[in-house]
Structures are given as C-alpha cells and as structure tokens.
Homo-oligomer: 245 residues x 2
DNA sequence: GCGATATGTTACCCGTGGGTAATAAAAAGT
DNA sequence: ACTTTTTATTACCCACGGGTAACATATCGC
C-alpha cells in the first residue's frame, strides 16, 4: 500500500511524480506538515527550510502559498479553531439541559485536543502572531471560554447543575481539557475516546445536581472539517492586515 | 517610600548608588527580572540586552552570574520547582488521609501557580533547556505528577476517595491547576487565595467518598523559599553539564 | 597604600534563519 | 505551437541576538 495514503502528512510532491494536484491540497499539506513540526519542536525551533524539506520542495516555494512563517502558524491555529467552532455549533443546534450540553462539549473538546490542529489552539503562543491575528485568536479563545461558562450558567438556571461560580468552574474544566493538548501523544496508552469518556464523567460529576443519570452515550458526531474554510481560502495572496506586525 | 522596597523586582544597581550588595542578591535579582520578562513576552522574544537594561547593567555583566541565556531560564525554572518540592515535603511530613493530602496539595499548588517562579514551571518550554537540564526538568515534573497520583491511590486505599482511574484523575486535576499559570494575572479580579479555595473544593468534590466534611481549613503555611538552594548556589561558575547543549 | 580578584564596560564577531530577487520550467489558455 | 501564468529553484541579503575579547574600575585582603 502506498505510504501516501497511510501517512497522515505525506506530501503530494513525491519526487519525479506528477505534481499536478490542486493548489488547495498542497496548501493544506503544508499546514499538516507545519503543525506537526511546530508541535514536535516548537515554533521557534522549526525553520522554513525544514518545513519545505519535508515536503520535497524548497523554502521560497512556500511563499507561493503563504506570506510568511507567522501566517502559516496562524492558519494552523485557524484549522483548530474551526474544529472547536463546528463542535460548538453542533451542540448548540441540538437540545438538552445545561449539564447535557456541557458533557457533550467536554467530550468533543477532549477529542479535539488529541488532534494536531486542535492541540495547536492551546500550544501555540498567540504572541508569535501579528497583532491583527493575535486579536482574532484571543477573541476566539474568549468565545470558547464564554461557551463553557454559558452552558454552566444555563445548567444552574435549569437546575441540572448545582450552584457554583460559573467563571471558576469553567476555568477548571477548560484548563483540564486544554492540558490534554500538552500531554497526549498518539502512541500513548490512552486512546482519545477513552480520555474523552473519562474526562466527561470526572469533570462534571462534581457539578451535576443529580448523581449522574446513567452513561452519557450522547456522542457528538466525530469531529469533521466544515466548509467554512473554503470561502476564506480564495482570499489567499491578498494583502495582509494593516496595522499588524 | 523607596520604590526599591515596594517593587518586587527592583534591581540593586540603582545608578550612582552603592553597588556593594552581596553576589547572591544580585544573582537573584537577575532571576526575578528574567522570569518576569520571560512570562510577559516569552523566552525567545526576550533578549539578554533587555534583561540587562532593566537591571541597569549591560549584557556581558550577566555572564558573571550565568553561563548563558538557557542557564538563566533553568535557574528560574528551578526556583519554581523548589517551591513545589517544599510544598510536597511539608504535606508529606504532616498526616491525614489521601483526600486530605490531596486537598492540601491542590490548595498549595494553586497558590504556587500565582507566583512568577511557580508559573514558570508550566509555562517554560523544557526544549529550550540543554539536554541535561531538560532531563532534570522532566524528572521533576514526573515526580510532581507521581505525587498527585500517589495521594489519590492512597485515598482510594484508605477509603477517603472513591474508586477511579488514578492516572487520569491526576491528569485532570494537575491540568486544571497548571492552567492557572496561563491565565492568572496579578491585577485580575481573583486573588490567589480565592482561586486556591475554589479549586480545592471544585477539583476534589467529585472524588471524595463522603460529600465533603465541612470547610477544609487545613491551610498549608504560605509557600516560602527553603534553604536547599544555598548549597547549589555555591557551585555557580563551575563547568556546565558534559553531554548537554 | 598595593597587588589580586571580582565586577563592569565598550566594541566586536558570526551563526542563524526569515525573507527576497532573478530566473527557469511546467501548466494552462487560446 | 505560442504566449501567459503558475510554481518552483538557485543565490543572495541582512537584521537580530547570543556570546566573546580586551579593557576599565571597584573592592578586598593584607
């Protein structure tokens, strides 16, 4: 079997092979490679030469797809943010009490942390981004935190969650989940599913008004990329933010 | 009142003032300044010139106290690790069931995360250290994690904590606490004490076998620097690790 | 007071790595 | 088949910042 299909980050530029794949595929291939390297070694220790080398191209070729290193970082980050956004959108679309929504969020968020792009949300340093992009990133993080808080507040209101400081409870839960992004590794003993299941009960058992009503088999559909990205992709190659940098 | 006494990181090199303070005081002043800058801007964005400037000296002067930037980083990290070590030592010295020890640890650890040196344990990237120091750092982190796990295991054994996966429970709790180091800020709405109190109940209420026996007023003495550092300080200026770098 | 040691300073080196021409070679359009 | 556009390459620039050498000046033991 061709390793290009088994290796998640295999580059479409295999030497001496047809290079006629679509631009977007290549762009994403860059991001997949970059996010791996960034997580592995840390943004500052990864050189663009290194990224390019893994893709069987050279550094300047990257500039056909991105305006600079920091934009690659931001796009990786963005991919992760979209994962979370789609998760939240789906939960909001569905119904349920506060505690049910919270449990869904905890479960799905835990799984996102086990994905490279997902982990990048919490492991990348927003200070490495341009001012403009940093603001976007911070706003997104704030929205995510607000969602945790909203579900808890809703749960207290509808009686499914017992009285507590929603702000601190959200911090505690989100912190615990974010930390997964720092210790999880694919080849570890725990699968993303196991981690998500365990964290779902562990992080909410103290909050539930009732001792926990049987197993929460209300699984969210496996995280998938949405189409929201499509639109923005077309804007590539245009000017970068004004007051940034 | 002289700002030197109110500002926590005021340098002892005030211009045109007597510079005859002890070497160790200056060394620590460097660390206090460095840790602040590192947390504020991130290790890679802080230049040694900048550190020196804040201390009213010049870059090469720093090399009288440290062998290089990474050693400064490690020593900052080390200060934090000692805070945790002393906390654990104190708890181990005292008695109590598993849940009591765990609560003490959670409370004290939360407070450590609100201290610059404490936050540095979780916010600095071990990959910025030399191989030798990175090993030391990783080992220390492992010991801390093992302590959380040990208290939980002990609690399950003595019946004060209900059955659960000790490994994942420890990850959940430690993650939540570590995350404090990422969001806490001195000028925020929450005081370290409030955070510690809230986290102590929030993170252990789900684990306790009994619904929580009144307020846990078993406060650990405020975190203080131990004397263990004294010995090592004397070794300064000697050769650095062999296979490192 | 006087040499030895500790602690600074100024001036410099140089490796690193992001970013940019200038240019070649495919792909695509017509 | 030809031009045009896209995509990649080779060769280079240069700012930045960690680290060092050579030198100046306190401080201290005696």
């Amino acid at each position: 079997m061709d390793s290009r299909f088994t290796n998640p980050a295999a580059p479409p530029w295999l030497p001496f092979e047809s290079r006629r794949r679509a631009r977007d595929e290549k762009r994403e291939a860059v991001l997949r490679t970059a996010v791996q390297l960034f997580l592995e070694q840390g943004y500052h220790r990864v050189t663009l030469n290194e990224v390019a080398e893994r893709l069987n191209i050279t550094k300047p070729a990257l500039y056909n797809y991105f305006r600079g290193k920091d934009e690659i970082l931001f796009e990786c980050w963005s991919m992760g943010a979209e994962l979370v956004d789609s998760v939240i959108a789906e939960i909001d679309a569905g119904g349920g009490s506060g505690i049910v929504k919270l449990r869904k969020l905890v479960h799905a968020y835990a799984e996102v942390m086990a994905i490279d792009f997902g982990a990048s949300i919490v492991r990348f340093d927003v200070r490495d981004l341009t001012n403009r992009n940093a603001r976007i990133a911070r706003a997104a993080k704030k929205r995510i935190d607000a969602t945790f808080r909203a579900y808890i507040t809703a749960g207290i209101a509808d009686g499914s969650i017992k009285r507590c400081d929603a702000k601190l409870a959200a911090f505690a839960i989100a912190g615990s989940l974010n930390w997964i992004g720092h210790w999880y590794q694919r080849d570890g003993a725990l699968s993303p599913g196991e981690i998500a299941d365990e964290f779902t009960v562990r992080l909410t058992e103290g909050l539930a008004a009732k001792p926990a009503q049987g197993h929460t088999t209300t699984k969210t559909a496996p995280v998938a990329r949405t189409a929201t990205r499509e639109a923005r992709r077309k804007a590539t190659g245009k000017k970068r933010g004004g007051a940034s940098r």
